[in-house]
């Protein structure tokens, strides 16, 4: 049973048609990797699936029903990690996660431990390196209770150990019934994936 389905969607950015007649399906425990040249619309497709961008044509379905009938509650079904880390330099590492923790009710400490940042919990986020900021952004995935993870170049700036650990998180999420849609240029630590080429 496919949980997430897109049916002939088309998206315009301003005057430019990014893609059209695009269809995809992701079953429970499924993973879909988006490939394509720069500017082929991978990020736009992720934002579309998140409900941030509206399709000009076509439909996005969740369990067979229109996913965007209530956009606000669709947001609760997805956890989106964009190419920006959304890290506030003035707050500490823990404080950066407070909001996500308040929304989901999960523990910040567990999330930091899952990405190996627990030792830096009280450090201001401006002291973090680019890779550590990325890990902080990825720790929101662990905090969120959402079944669908939307990842835009998730491993950018990560070292091999962190990528391996991230692979473990992905496997765990899928084992518990979650789905992953990721846009990437490098191979992700994902087994048994479907691919979609854009552009």
């Amino acid at each position: 049973m496919d949980v997430l389905k897109a049916d002939g969607v088309a998206v315009f950015r301003g005057e430019r048609l990014v893609f059209r007649d695009l269809s995809l399906a992701v079953p429970a425990r499924g993973a879909l990797v988006l490939a394509g040249a720069n500017g082929s619309g991978k990020s736009t497709l992720l934002r579309l699936l998140a409900g941030l961008v509206r399709p000009e044509a076509g439909r996005v379905l969740w369990d067979g029903e229109d996913a965007f009938a209530d956009v606000a509650s669709h947001g609760r079904r997805v956890c989106y990690v964009g190419h920006q880390d959304a890290v506030k330099p003035g707050l500490t590492v823990t404080e950066n996660l407070r909001f996500a923790a308040a929304v989901s009710g999960r523990s910040v400490r567990t999330a930091l431990a899952a990405v190996g940042l627990e030792a830096l919990a009280d450090l201001p986020a401006r002291m973090l390196s680019a890779g550590q900021k990325r890990r902080l952004a990825l720790s929101r995935l662990v905090l969120s209770a959402a079944p669908l993870w939307l990842l835009d170049e998730p491993t950018l700036g990560l070292d091999t150990a962190a990528i391996e650990r991230f692979g473990g998180l992905l496997a765990e999420h899928r084992a518990s019934g979650g789905m992953v849609v990721a846009a990437t240029h490098v191979p992700l630590p994902l087994a048994d994936v479907a691919g979609l080429r854009l552009g």
């Binding site: 941030l52 997805v78 880390d85 890290v87």
Partner: protein, 221 residues
């Protein structure tokens, strides 16, 4: 509702951490209001007569200062996407942001307005009406400001556009707010003016977040 408080708590935490930005609006208010006695002369006759107008205009301009960062900072670092996906709807986010703007800018302005009024030698009888008017008026400024900030979000030179958009919208607030203080200072009842301000607040409370939410959806696309 829990997410609403989470957004508010997050914004307040950020404001406390960036204390200098928060204080800037307040200092701007005090500094501009203190320029008037220097420019007009310290004579209590003239100064006391125009004090309500001075305080209202200065408060209005000071409240505008933090608005372009209200959503701007979150749009730039990607946090706005996360807020939009938090399950609270876009209008709720605008409402929470407007409330945080009021708590961080409006309430401190309200607290220093009375000492500034005394400094400008405003007749004592008018000060309660001035403060009640400012209480309602600052809420209105935050609501209109939150809506305006969402509308200009993503526009080039949004910071310049914002006052041009908001100032015409808040002129009725200014007129009735200053008139309430004037009336009370002159020995008349401030009630009709304050009631009109209250009516504006009742209309703006649902409408501004609604319009701002629609604008926010467009901005993140």
């Amino acid at each position: 509702m829990r997410v609403f408080w989470a957004v508010l708590a997050r914004d307040l935490r950020l404001s406390v951490r960036h204390g200098a930005d928060t204080l800037a609006a307040l200092l701007f208010f005090v500094a501009t209001a203190s320029l008037f006695p220097l420019a007009i002369g310290p004579g209590p006759e003239t100064l006391g007569r125009i004090a309500p107008g001075i305080i209202w205009v200065c408060a209005l301009l000071a409240a505008l200062l933090p608005l372009d960062r209200l959503f701007g900072a979150d749009l730039e670092d990607g946090s706005l996407d996360l807020l939009m996906l938090s399950g609270l709807g876009a209008s709720g986010i605008v409402g929470a942001k407007a409330l945080s703007h009021w708590l961080v800018t409006g309430v401190p302005l309200l607290l220093v307005a009375a000492p500034v009024a005394v400094m400008l030698r405003m007749p004592e009888g008018g000060i309660p009406a001035l403060l009640i008017g400012l209480l309602i008026g600052s809420l209105l400024l935050s609501l209109f400001g939150g809506m305006g900030a969402a509308i200009v979000l993503g526009a080039r030179r949004g910071g310049v556009l914002l006052p041009l958009l908001i100032l015409p919208l808040v002129t009725p607030v200014l007129i009735f707010g200053a008139a309430a203080a004037d009336a009370a200072a002159g020995g008349f009842s401030a009630r009709p003016h304050l009631l009109l301000l209250g009516a504006m607040l009742a209309a703006a409370l649902p409408l501004c977040p609604l319009a701002g939410g629609a604008a926010l959806r467009g901005a993140v696309e």
